[in-house]
Symmetry: C2
Subunit: 558 residues, 2 copies
């Protein structure tokens, strides 16, 4: 281990131990504050200027055998970033990574984890700048870009490091094997156990959460010894590039080849992902994105272990509730946040057509729908707040989808475009809410990515549960919300959650939202339904990223 | 949890705790003695008669929707078993398992682990009888059939239960999540976490180790909540059927549906494995067998997690040694044991053509080869001992392969057939050892399953290492043996082991053999080269067999 990697480990050891404790107890914990006030005032102030200083020029990185420049990011807030990135030659990069992997493997778990923790620590300090990059690629509003793109993403990265550390720590470096032989001397074998990485890791990032969905795979692979190719979405390269730069700086300082974390950007016209994914040397693939591409990876990249987060039909079931206003306010926030572009945003809201019981008496189906529409309208009535919460639509496809979906049901709340005070060309649209009958399954049981949701009229709560079971079994879901005041129904909902392997959020009516997932406590996706084949984070997410190679010989272990 | 499952857990709790301790320290440990003297004398005496009582009649099991009988096993010792087994209807069985899975899931980890430990305990007591079944299907010699088919297989099953228990125990049942809100009251969320099985587990057993290679997948899946379909090799059904009967008895006593462990036998003429493997409900597949079929499963059964142990080119590198006689005696045992039909038997033995240094001076390549031939001859000179050690060839294909391979090199030791004192038609053949040049790669770098090995003349030890690296990277290996008296070379071999992810046995010249793998201490296969994509047993072997489904609500967890 190089001296500086050991120093890095030592300086972050307490954080690591707390993280390991947190993933076991799953209580609230984070070393990365989500309040911008806890960050250096200078860093916060300088962030916009730092971001602007990156625009309209090449972004330099250690890039192996690069022959061409790619770029072309356009901020969803309406301007071109004008940044170019070098695209490495994949063959040369793979060859270089295979050489570099040996030192990285030999360095051992402490050194690798030390480097990972130092990378995370430096990323954390840069959160205000990363927020700018996330905002102007994903379209997230500034507060969300800061929290989800900065500390919450770093939490998920640290969580992966903690799981990796825990998994590697279970393997003793040596063992003495003493087998009794009756009256004879026992047989004594000395054994050594080595953590050996799987190979090259490909992390395919998405455009909406370029750091949050990327850090778990990056850090789980890197900590367990695998070089990582980061393949950003062509529309959201910068946050991944900044991450790569920080990782390369730390690797170099610790005496390792910076190519161990490399950016491999491509363009929509000349995509590289399929080629990279089928490389025999690529043994691990982390992917966030469409079902079609995730399924393609699982079916074709069979030389690799694929960890895929795809899409599903996130679901809310309303049976009964206390306070309609509180519940619709909570759901209004969930539907509005980042214009429904979260993989956790509800799409199908099942309500019995006979209406529901509330503490204030019976409320009809139409009145539930109207109350939700009204709550969204009220929540977005202040345009500045609306723009901050909604953010911008990452892609023109999402914008087009709103129009395409208008005819799928009866409009309860129409989507409208909004003008951003600062960015007049920003792609900002409020939620579209449609009413449909349970029979219109084709409408609500396809993923409609973006600010589009359906209130589905069912025969009863039992029918709602049955429909949800059917749809989620077939299409998957990352989140399942439900409202009931009846503990017997709550038990049925808990059973449903287990049957379809979707995490249940019950009766959220305050400051926690179904689309939020807290690292160290909430498992994001379960891996048990078609929406994802892995969970962020658990043991299964790290355990197959390395193998154990042992040696044994007679006598004491050395 | 049913009362009796809890009792089962309580009565085996100490064994479980010791097993969990053993997999962490990897020292010698087992609750299942390998000496027949430690078993009930009556059971040992009654075993042959008990086995004979099973012959020439139907073997009854709980079998869902069975419509036909299959069978046709022939002992490699030369007689028909004449046993028929019911083949369940796969669709009906899958439907029944999906219903039964719910109670099994709800029972919780303690109940499931209690049932698994009780099954193992009863299997252990039946080891003498299981030995008969293993001997007369696999062709193993009686001692090996007892040890590998009985206690050593049970060790591997218990190891899987210990890993499963450890993995499940890491998930707290509940958590209290308290997020500070500055001056305001904190947000309090109560959370529950459930272990949810993946789905139906298919364990495809092999003909040579019908229990040893089956128990890890069976118990890892069952303990984590998955119903298990046991698909035996058509030539080795009985040991799996006995295991199924014991499992069904224990499940039923504990109040669960016995179909949770079901035998699904087929025939060579009407194989069922591909159909079962592609069932959407099958989410886990454990397979031991050919590369072609293992690769087919990985490439086609993409709806499932596949744990495949295939074949490779097990390798020995001889650089230098102290005592040629001790080393060749050790290798003679390894090559002879079960006629080379272990997945761990060496096939390619690399020796520099210039010869090797020994404590008694330089020994030429030809003399090394001759010494090995002589050691095998001496070891097998007593025919009774030879028959016991060699066992019988499981299949006629293996017998034919000996003839097919004779021309692949210069014969150092020819294979001869032997007559068994008791079973005159037993298929018993001694090892064939060939000498080849390193350039004859086609000869030694294809798996030649059975008692066939190659002494490969290389330019130097460096060349041996290079060849081994190349061949194992391409074809895989489950074992790697090596001999050197030079610590610098030992370091290179350790490096080789890591590079090709094969476990290294160094300088074995006594009572431990390269083809032996001790549960709780040795990882069998690493999962990191083409011979296997999983290891018996480690965290990765269990972690992806279940998912965690949580629920959360405001307030205290209930």
């Amino acid at each position: 281990m190089t001296q500086s990697a050991q120093q890095m480990f030592d300086s972050h050891r307490q954080t690591l131990e707390q993280a390991v404790e947190a993933i076991a107890t799953r209580t609230f914990w984070t070393p990365y504050p989500e309040s911008m006030r806890k960050y250096s005032e200078d860093a916060v102030k300088a962030a916009p200027a730092n971001f602007e200083a990156l625009l309209n020029q090449p972004f330099t990185l250690n890039s192996v055998g690069s022959t061409k420049q790619v770029g072309g990011e356009i901020s969803p807030y309406g301007f071109e970033l004008g940044i170019n990135y070098e695209q490495p030659n994949p063959d040369e990069l793979i060859a270089a990574m295979q050489v570099a992997m040996r030192d990285w493997r030999e360095a051992g778990a402490q050194a690798r984890v030390g480097v990972c923790l130092e990378i995370l620590s430096r990323l954390n300090a840069m959160s205000p700048e990363i927020a700018q990059a996330v905002m102007h690629t994903s379209g997230q509003g500034p507060l969300m870009a800061f929290q989800a793109g900065g500390p919450h993403a770093q939490d998920r990265g640290l969580e992966a490091v903690a799981y990796a550390w825990q998994a590697m720590a279970q393997i003793p470096a040596t063992a003495q094997w003493v087998k009794p032989q009756g009256k004879h001397d026992p047989i004594v074998m000395g054994k050594r156990f080595h953590i050996v990485p799987r190979g090259i890791s490909l992390v395919v990032a998405c455009s909406t959460f370029p750091t949050w969905n990327t850090y778990p795979g990056l850090f789980a692979s890197l900590a367990t010894g695998n070089p990582v190719m980061l393949k950003p979405h062509p529309g959201a390269i910068l946050p991944v590039a900044i991450t790569t730069r920080v990782a390369q700086e730390v690797l170099e300082e610790a005496g390792f080849d910076p190519c161990l974390v490399s950016l491999v950007p491509d363009t929509a016209d000349a995509p590289l992902t399929k080629t990279l994914a089928l490389e025999p040397a690529v043994k691990l693939i982390d992917f966030t994105g469409s079902n079609a591409f995730g399924d393609w990876l699982i079916e074709n990249a069979t030389q690799a272990q694929v960890f895929a987060e795809k899409a599903g039909i996130n679901t809310v079931i309303i049976d009964s509730l206390d306070n309609l206003k509180a519940v619709t306010a909570n759901l209004a926030f969930s539907l509005s946040l980042y214009s429904g572009q979260m993989c956790t945003t509800p799409q199908a809201i099942y309500v019995p057509k006979s209406g529901i019981a509330t503490a204030d008496g019976h409320v009809s189906f139409d009145d539930v729908a109207a109350a939700l529409a009204k709550a969204v309208q009220a929540f977005l009535s202040d345009n500045d707040r609306a723009c901050t919460v909604l953010g911008a639509l990452q892609s023109v496809d999402t914008q087009a989808r709103i129009d395409e979906c208008r005819g799928l049901g009866e409009i309860v709340l129409d989507s409208e475009s909004r003008k951003h005070a600062q960015y007049s060309d920003a792609r900002i649209h409020t939620p579209l809410i449609l009413k449909v009958d349970a029979a219109q399954k084709a409408a609500y049981s396809e993923e409609r990515f973006g600010p589009i949701s359906f209130i589905v009229a069912t025969d009863s709560t039992a029918h709602s549960i049955e429909l949800a079971r059917e749809v989620i079994r077939e299409k998957g879901a990352i989140t399942l919300g439900a409202y009931t005041t009846d503990e017997a129904v709550a038990d049925q909902l808990e059973e449903l959650a287990m049957d379809v392997a979707a995490p249940l959020s019950l009766n959220l009516d305050g400051g926690i939202f179904v689309n939020q997932s807290a690292a160290f406590s909430d498992f994001h996706a379960t891996g048990g339904n078609p929406a994802a084949n892995a969970s962020l984070c658990n043991q299964a997410f790290v355990a197959s990223r390395f193998v154990v190679v042992q040696s044994r010989r007679h006598g004491q272990s050395n």
